[in-house]
Amino acid sequence: MQAVFPLTFAALLFSAGVYGVLSRRNAVLVLMSVELMLAAVTVNLVAFHGLVASEAGDPLLSGQVFALFVMGIGAAEVGVGLAIVLLLYRNRATVNVDDADLMKY
């Protein structure tokens, strides 16, 4: 398989995620965009596993194992992230990222 396909797919997912993170107001939607970015990273890792395997071999399967780790970390991240969003909602009655600007000058 051409390496360009999965890599470009990952780039598209990542850029869409970046767009979401930067422009969405709802914090849950921001979290979803972050999930997209993480998915892009896993796609890249799996693709690079295949890339390395086709050239030098990858006996430790590091690409796939790392993709697995990213999934685990992503699950942890979404759990903590949602807890923070809930806390934000409980304290400020909003989940709009724009409204959480206490650190403003």
């Binding site: 796939q64 194992v65 989940v95």
Partner: protein, 207 residues
């Protein structure tokens, strides 16, 4: 263009379109459902690249658990279900940044991996399991520890603290009252009126 390439292209088109819809949909629940499609497409791309275990893990973890968690998050934060403006004033800036990033990434990918190929020989789950529990055992345990910590952290963050309201006589009431008080407490005026380093700096130097 081989058969796996075609399948991959399908996942590409489906997943990319779903991803764009996730970040543009005006209805939050729709966005979550598009996320399901995007993640399934990612799982499919894993399958075409020979990562079968990862594909099913992706379906189980993300589609099965994470998206459900996000839907619960939408529910618990009483997000308005229905179409409405979900974007803020950063939209043009975001388009510029993400578009530029995408162009850059594609340029680099084509320049670097333009003629590289990916080995799609399926990896046996037994082999993956063996390296995972032998060579990668320690990082794997660390990951497990991380998950436990994040579980506890999420619990601590999201738990309603009944006995620790901002006012001492506020403990037995519904917590909404106390929480509004808590939200009012750190007003922005406190931040600006804190003793600044500038005052002290002036006092040191001036005779």
């Amino acid at each position: 263009m081989s058969i796996p390439d075609l399948f991959m292209l399908g996942a590409f088109v489906l997943g990319g379109a779903a991803a764009l819809l996730v970040v543009t949909a005006r209805n939050v629940v729709h966005a979550a459902l598009y996320l399901v499609i995007a993640l399934v497409a990612v799982a499919a791309s894993f399958l075409w690249m020979g990562a079968e275990f990862l594909a099913w893990a992706q379906v189980l973890v993300y589609v099965g658990a994470v998206v459900v968690l996000i839907l619960f998050g939408l529910m618990l934060t009483r997000a308005p279900i229905g179409p409405m403006a979900q974007h803020n004033e950063n939209r043009k800036f975001a388009v510029a940044v993400s578009g530029g990033l995408f162009v850059l990434l594609v340029t680099v990918i084509v320049a670097t991996f333009g003629d590289a190929t990916v080995d799609v020989t399926p990896v046996r789950v037994a082999d993956l399991g063996e390296v995972l529990y032998v060579q990668w055992a320690f990082p794997f345990m660390v990951l497990g520890f991380l998950l436990t910590v994040s579980l506890i952290g999420a619990l601590v963050l999201a738990r309603r603290e009944e006995g620790e309201g901002p006012l001492p006589d506020d403990t037995d009431e519904g917590s909404d009252q106390g929480l509004e008080d808590a939200a009012q407490e750190p007003g922005p005026s406190d931040v600006t009126s804190a003793p600044g380093a500038g005052d002290a700096g002036q006092q040191i130097g001036a005779p």
